[in-house]
Protein backbone atom coordinates (compact mmCIF):
# COMPACT_ATOMS: atom_id res chain seq x y z
CA UNK A 1 0.00 0.00 0.00
CA UNK A 2 2.61 2.38 -1.04
CA UNK A 3 -0.01 4.84 -2.07
CA UNK A 4 -0.67 5.89 1.47
CA UNK A 5 2.91 6.38 2.40
CA UNK A 6 3.78 10.03 2.49
CA UNK A 7 6.84 10.88 0.63
CA UNK A 8 8.67 14.13 1.12
CA UNK A 9 7.27 16.98 3.18
CA UNK A 10 4.05 18.74 2.33
CA UNK A 11 3.82 22.50 2.35
CA UNK A 12 0.52 24.11 3.38
CA UNK A 13 -0.61 26.48 0.69
CA UNK A 14 -2.53 29.68 1.50
CA UNK A 15 -6.20 29.55 0.55
CA UNK A 16 -6.82 31.36 -2.66
CA UNK A 17 -8.79 34.58 -2.12
CA UNK A 18 -9.55 35.19 -5.76
CA UNK A 19 -13.18 34.06 -5.28
CA UNK A 20 -13.73 36.33 -2.30
CA UNK A 21 -15.20 39.22 -4.33
CA UNK A 22 -17.67 36.81 -5.89
CA UNK A 23 -18.84 35.60 -2.52
CA UNK A 24 -19.15 39.07 -1.08
CA UNK A 25 -21.04 40.27 -4.13
CA UNK A 26 -23.37 37.34 -3.75
CA UNK A 27 -24.13 38.33 -0.15
CA UNK A 28 -24.50 41.93 -1.26
CA UNK A 29 -27.06 41.06 -3.93
CA UNK A 30 -28.91 38.90 -1.44
CA UNK A 31 -29.27 41.83 0.93
CA UNK A 32 -30.23 44.19 -1.87
CA UNK A 33 -33.02 41.87 -2.92
CA UNK A 34 -34.36 40.97 0.51
CA UNK A 35 -34.27 44.25 2.36
CA UNK A 36 -36.04 47.54 1.83
CA UNK A 37 -34.78 51.03 2.41
CA UNK A 38 -35.40 52.54 5.80
CA UNK A 39 -37.63 55.46 5.11
CA UNK A 40 -38.37 57.18 8.36
CA UNK A 41 -36.68 57.28 11.69
CA UNK A 42 -39.27 56.38 14.23
CA UNK A 43 -39.27 58.93 17.02
CA UNK A 44 -41.82 57.26 19.24
CA UNK A 45 -41.74 54.03 21.18
CA UNK A 46 -43.93 51.60 19.32
CA UNK A 47 -44.43 48.18 20.83
CA UNK A 48 -46.68 46.65 18.24
CA UNK A 49 -49.54 44.55 19.64
CA UNK A 50 -49.77 40.83 19.01
CA UNK A 51 -52.32 39.09 16.84
CA UNK A 52 -52.76 35.78 15.10
CA UNK A 53 -54.62 36.84 11.98
CA UNK A 54 -52.26 39.45 10.55
CA UNK A 55 -51.72 39.55 6.82
CA UNK A 56 -48.41 40.47 5.22
CA UNK A 57 -48.23 43.92 3.72
CA UNK A 58 -47.52 43.15 0.11
CA UNK A 59 -47.10 46.45 -1.66
CA UNK A 60 -45.08 48.72 0.51
CA UNK A 61 -45.17 51.45 -2.13
CA UNK A 62 -48.92 51.86 -1.61
CA UNK A 63 -48.61 52.19 2.12
CA UNK A 64 -48.32 55.31 4.24
CA UNK A 65 -47.34 54.98 7.84
CA UNK A 66 -48.71 56.67 10.90
CA UNK A 67 -46.88 56.09 14.16
CA UNK A 68 -48.45 56.73 17.53
CA UNK A 69 -46.72 56.28 20.85
CA UNK A 70 -44.75 57.85 23.62
CA UNK A 71 -41.93 60.05 22.26
CA UNK A 72 -38.44 58.62 22.65
CA UNK A 73 -36.49 59.80 25.65
CA UNK A 74 -34.48 62.34 23.65
CA UNK A 75 -37.69 64.08 22.59
CA UNK A 76 -39.45 63.88 25.91
CA UNK A 77 -38.02 67.12 27.20
CA UNK A 78 -39.69 68.90 24.31
CA UNK A 79 -42.82 66.89 23.68
CA UNK A 80 -43.62 65.25 27.03
CA UNK A 81 -44.58 61.65 27.57
CA UNK A 82 -48.13 61.67 26.28
CA UNK A 83 -48.62 59.61 23.09
CA UNK A 84 -47.86 61.66 20.01
CA UNK A 85 -48.61 61.16 16.35
CA UNK A 86 -45.66 60.94 13.99
CA UNK A 87 -46.15 61.54 10.29
CA UNK A 88 -43.07 61.23 8.12
CA UNK A 89 -40.28 62.68 10.22
CA UNK A 90 -42.05 64.98 12.62
CA UNK A 91 -44.61 65.08 15.38
CA UNK A 92 -47.99 66.24 14.16
CA UNK A 93 -51.50 66.81 15.37
CA UNK A 94 -54.81 65.24 14.35
CA UNK A 95 -55.60 68.19 12.06
CA UNK A 96 -52.46 67.56 10.02
CA UNK A 97 -53.53 64.08 9.01
CA UNK A 98 -55.79 65.27 6.24
CA UNK A 99 -52.92 67.18 4.60
CA UNK A 100 -50.60 64.25 5.11
CA UNK A 101 -53.00 61.87 3.38
CA UNK A 102 -53.53 64.29 0.49
CA UNK A 103 -49.78 64.62 0.10
CA UNK A 104 -49.18 60.87 0.22
CA UNK A 105 -51.95 60.29 -2.27
CA UNK A 106 -50.41 62.82 -4.61
CA UNK A 107 -47.26 60.72 -4.75
CA UNK A 108 -49.06 57.66 -6.04
CA UNK A 109 -49.86 57.28 -9.68
CA UNK A 110 -53.44 57.60 -10.89
CA UNK A 111 -54.23 53.89 -10.99
CA UNK A 112 -53.01 53.26 -7.48
CA UNK A 113 -54.79 56.13 -5.78
CA UNK A 114 -57.77 54.02 -4.82
CA UNK A 115 -55.57 51.28 -3.48
CA UNK A 116 -53.83 53.49 -0.99
CA UNK A 117 -53.36 51.86 2.37
CA UNK A 118 -52.64 53.52 5.66
CA UNK A 119 -50.66 51.43 8.10
CA UNK A 120 -51.19 52.37 11.72
CA UNK A 121 -48.25 51.51 13.90
CA UNK A 122 -49.51 52.15 17.36
CA UNK A 123 -48.05 51.32 20.74
CA UNK A 124 -50.10 48.72 22.56
CA UNK A 125 -50.48 50.85 25.69
CA UNK A 126 -51.92 53.83 23.83
CA UNK A 127 -55.44 54.78 24.87
CA UNK A 128 -58.10 54.35 22.21
CA UNK A 129 -59.12 58.01 22.39
CA UNK A 130 -56.29 59.19 20.17
CA UNK A 131 -56.65 56.14 17.90
CA UNK A 132 -60.33 56.90 17.39
CA UNK A 133 -59.51 60.52 16.59
CA UNK A 134 -56.99 59.39 13.98
CA UNK A 135 -59.52 56.98 12.50
CA UNK A 136 -62.08 59.75 12.25
CA UNK A 137 -59.52 62.00 10.58
CA UNK A 138 -58.74 59.24 8.09
CA UNK A 139 -62.42 58.86 7.32
CA UNK A 140 -62.67 62.57 6.68
CA UNK A 141 -59.67 62.32 4.37
CA UNK A 142 -61.39 59.31 2.74
CA UNK A 143 -58.41 57.07 3.32
CA UNK A 144 -60.59 54.12 4.25
CA UNK A 145 -58.27 51.20 3.78
CA UNK A 146 -56.27 50.80 6.92
CA UNK A 147 -54.08 48.21 8.48
CA UNK A 148 -53.46 47.83 12.19
CA UNK A 149 -49.84 46.74 12.28
CA UNK A 150 -49.17 43.81 14.56
CA UNK A 151 -46.66 41.08 15.11
CA UNK A 152 -47.90 37.65 14.24
CA UNK A 153 -47.84 35.14 17.07
CA UNK A 154 -49.44 31.76 17.66
CA UNK A 155 -50.96 32.69 20.97
CA UNK A 156 -51.83 36.15 22.18
CA UNK A 157 -50.65 37.20 25.60
CA UNK A 158 -52.59 40.18 26.84
CA UNK A 159 -50.55 42.93 28.42
CA UNK A 160 -53.14 44.37 30.74
Amino acid sequence: MARFVKTGKKSVKAISTSSLPDIVFMILFFFMAVTTMRETDVMVTVRIPEATEGKVLEKKSLASFIYIGEPLETFQAMYGTEPKIQLNDSFKEIVDIQDFIAQEREQLNEADKTKMLVVLKIDRDTRMGVVTDVKQALRRASALKIMYANTNVDQITLHQ
Binding site: K55, L57, I122, T132, Y148, N152, L158
Partner: protein, 179 residues
Protein backbone atom coordinates in the same frame (compact mmCIF):
# COMPACT_ATOMS: atom_id res chain seq x y z
CA UNK B 1 -12.65 44.37 -5.54
CA UNK B 2 -13.58 42.61 -2.36
CA UNK B 3 -13.06 45.80 -0.40
CA UNK B 4 -15.53 47.70 -2.55
CA UNK B 5 -18.03 44.88 -2.28
CA UNK B 6 -17.62 44.83 1.48
CA UNK B 7 -18.16 48.55 1.61
CA UNK B 8 -21.40 48.28 -0.36
CA UNK B 9 -22.49 45.35 1.73
CA UNK B 10 -22.04 47.28 4.94
CA UNK B 11 -23.87 50.25 3.48
CA UNK B 12 -26.87 48.08 2.65
CA UNK B 13 -26.80 46.42 6.03
CA UNK B 14 -26.99 49.79 7.72
CA UNK B 15 -29.46 51.54 5.43
CA UNK B 16 -32.10 48.88 4.98
CA UNK B 17 -34.51 46.90 7.08
CA UNK B 18 -35.52 43.32 6.63
CA UNK B 19 -38.74 43.15 8.63
CA UNK B 20 -41.90 42.68 6.65
CA UNK B 21 -44.98 44.36 8.03
CA UNK B 22 -47.99 42.37 9.04
CA UNK B 23 -51.30 43.68 10.21
CA UNK B 24 -55.05 43.39 10.37
CA UNK B 25 -56.63 44.82 7.25
CA UNK B 26 -59.77 46.83 7.89
CA UNK B 27 -62.05 49.02 5.86
CA UNK B 28 -63.32 52.15 7.56
CA UNK B 29 -66.89 53.23 6.85
CA UNK B 30 -67.40 56.36 4.83
CA UNK B 31 -68.44 59.51 6.62
CA UNK B 32 -72.22 59.64 6.29
CA UNK B 33 -73.37 62.53 4.12
CA UNK B 34 -75.52 64.85 6.26
CA UNK B 35 -77.62 65.79 3.22
CA UNK B 36 -78.62 62.21 2.52
CA UNK B 37 -81.30 60.90 4.87
CA UNK B 38 -80.03 58.09 7.06
CA UNK B 39 -81.08 54.58 6.34
CA UNK B 40 -84.18 54.10 8.44
CA UNK B 41 -84.04 50.32 8.20
CA UNK B 42 -82.20 49.73 11.41
CA UNK B 43 -80.63 46.33 11.66
CA UNK B 44 -82.74 43.98 13.72
CA UNK B 45 -81.37 43.72 17.23
CA UNK B 46 -81.11 39.94 17.16
CA UNK B 47 -78.66 40.17 14.26
CA UNK B 48 -76.16 42.28 16.14
CA UNK B 49 -73.51 40.87 18.41
CA UNK B 50 -72.50 43.72 20.62
CA UNK B 51 -68.89 43.48 21.71
CA UNK B 52 -67.55 46.15 23.95
CA UNK B 53 -64.22 46.77 25.62
CA UNK B 54 -64.57 49.24 28.46
CA UNK B 55 -62.05 51.61 29.97
CA UNK B 56 -60.83 48.95 32.42
CA UNK B 57 -60.08 46.71 29.44
CA UNK B 58 -62.89 44.34 30.38
CA UNK B 59 -64.78 42.56 27.68
CA UNK B 60 -68.55 42.76 27.51
CA UNK B 61 -70.50 40.68 25.03
CA UNK B 62 -74.16 41.67 24.76
CA UNK B 63 -73.69 43.58 27.99
CA UNK B 64 -72.33 40.65 29.95
CA UNK B 65 -68.84 40.37 31.35
CA UNK B 66 -67.04 37.69 29.34
CA UNK B 67 -63.67 36.02 29.50
CA UNK B 68 -61.42 36.92 26.61
CA UNK B 69 -60.75 33.24 25.84
CA UNK B 70 -64.44 32.58 25.22
CA UNK B 71 -64.95 35.32 22.67
CA UNK B 72 -63.98 33.25 19.65
CA UNK B 73 -66.44 30.48 20.50
CA UNK B 74 -69.26 32.85 21.32
CA UNK B 75 -68.73 34.69 18.04
CA UNK B 76 -68.77 31.62 15.85
CA UNK B 77 -71.77 30.18 17.67
CA UNK B 78 -73.58 33.46 17.21
CA UNK B 79 -72.82 33.63 13.49
CA UNK B 80 -73.83 30.05 12.74
CA UNK B 81 -76.91 29.94 14.99
CA UNK B 82 -77.18 26.21 14.41
CA UNK B 83 -80.40 25.79 16.40
CA UNK B 84 -82.18 28.80 14.91
CA UNK B 85 -82.66 30.40 18.28
CA UNK B 86 -84.92 33.45 18.29
CA UNK B 87 -82.35 35.72 19.93
CA UNK B 88 -79.60 34.84 17.47
CA UNK B 89 -79.26 36.10 13.88
CA UNK B 90 -81.87 35.51 11.23
CA UNK B 91 -81.08 33.63 8.07
CA UNK B 92 -81.94 34.60 4.59
CA UNK B 93 -82.08 32.23 1.64
CA UNK B 94 -79.55 33.54 -0.86
CA UNK B 95 -78.52 32.07 -4.17
CA UNK B 96 -74.74 31.84 -4.22
CA UNK B 97 -72.49 30.46 -6.94
CA UNK B 98 -71.19 26.96 -6.10
CA UNK B 99 -73.60 26.66 -3.18
CA UNK B 100 -77.04 27.22 -4.73
CA UNK B 101 -79.85 28.36 -2.47
CA UNK B 102 -78.47 28.43 1.03
CA UNK B 103 -79.50 30.06 4.30
CA UNK B 104 -77.04 32.85 4.99
CA UNK B 105 -76.68 34.32 8.45
CA UNK B 106 -77.42 38.04 8.64
CA UNK B 107 -75.14 38.49 11.63
CA UNK B 108 -73.33 41.76 12.19
CA UNK B 109 -70.69 42.30 14.82
CA UNK B 110 -70.55 45.68 16.43
CA UNK B 111 -67.31 46.51 18.18
CA UNK B 112 -67.29 49.35 20.64
CA UNK B 113 -64.62 50.77 22.83
CA UNK B 114 -64.17 53.47 25.39
CA UNK B 115 -61.70 56.28 25.10
CA UNK B 116 -59.63 54.77 27.89
CA UNK B 117 -59.40 51.31 26.36
CA UNK B 118 -55.88 50.13 25.69
CA UNK B 119 -55.06 49.74 22.03
CA UNK B 120 -53.43 46.34 22.59
CA UNK B 121 -56.59 44.91 24.11
CA UNK B 122 -58.71 46.41 21.37
CA UNK B 123 -56.55 44.76 18.72
CA UNK B 124 -56.67 41.44 20.57
CA UNK B 125 -60.47 41.56 20.56
CA UNK B 126 -60.55 42.63 16.94
CA UNK B 127 -58.23 39.73 16.18
CA UNK B 128 -60.52 37.21 17.92
CA UNK B 129 -63.51 38.41 15.90
CA UNK B 130 -61.60 38.18 12.63
CA UNK B 131 -60.26 34.78 13.65
CA UNK B 132 -63.74 33.44 14.40
CA UNK B 133 -64.98 34.52 11.00
CA UNK B 134 -61.87 33.23 9.23
CA UNK B 135 -62.27 29.85 10.92
CA UNK B 136 -65.86 29.53 9.73
CA UNK B 137 -64.85 30.43 6.20
CA UNK B 138 -61.97 28.00 6.27
CA UNK B 139 -64.17 25.16 7.56
CA UNK B 140 -66.71 25.87 4.87
CA UNK B 141 -64.05 25.91 2.15
CA UNK B 142 -62.67 22.59 3.35
CA UNK B 143 -66.11 21.04 3.54
CA UNK B 144 -67.27 22.32 0.16
CA UNK B 145 -64.12 22.38 -1.96
CA UNK B 146 -61.78 20.19 0.05
CA UNK B 147 -59.02 22.80 0.26
CA UNK B 148 -58.10 25.58 2.66
CA UNK B 149 -59.70 29.00 2.16
CA UNK B 150 -56.36 30.62 1.46
CA UNK B 151 -55.80 28.42 -1.57
CA UNK B 152 -59.17 29.00 -3.23
CA UNK B 153 -59.35 31.04 -6.41
CA UNK B 154 -60.90 34.51 -6.30
CA UNK B 155 -64.33 33.39 -7.46
CA UNK B 156 -64.70 30.64 -4.90
CA UNK B 157 -63.28 32.87 -2.23
CA UNK B 158 -65.95 35.42 -3.08
CA UNK B 159 -68.68 32.82 -2.73
CA UNK B 160 -67.36 31.73 0.66
CA UNK B 161 -67.06 35.37 1.73
CA UNK B 162 -70.71 35.92 0.81
CA UNK B 163 -71.72 32.85 2.79
CA UNK B 164 -70.15 34.27 5.95
CA UNK B 165 -70.19 37.95 5.23
CA UNK B 166 -70.47 39.08 8.86
CA UNK B 167 -69.36 42.70 8.71
CA UNK B 168 -67.40 43.81 11.75
CA UNK B 169 -68.50 47.36 12.25
CA UNK B 170 -66.75 49.84 14.43
CA UNK B 171 -69.42 51.93 16.01
CA UNK B 172 -69.37 55.70 15.80
CA UNK B 173 -67.16 56.71 18.68
CA UNK B 174 -68.72 57.92 21.86
CA UNK B 175 -66.67 60.10 24.10
CA UNK B 176 -67.04 58.20 27.31
CA UNK B 177 -64.55 56.88 29.80
CA UNK B 178 -62.28 59.88 29.48
CA UNK B 179 -59.79 60.29 32.23
Amino acid sequence: MADIAFLLLIFFLAATTMDSDTGLLRQLPEIPDPNVPQDVNQINDRNILEVKVNKDNLLLVEGELTEFSQLRDITSRFIVNADDLPDMPEKEIVNLPYFGDVPVSKAVISLQNDIGTKYGVYIAVQNELIAARAKLRDDLAKQEFGIAYERLDEERKGAVDDFFKVPISEAEPKRIGEK
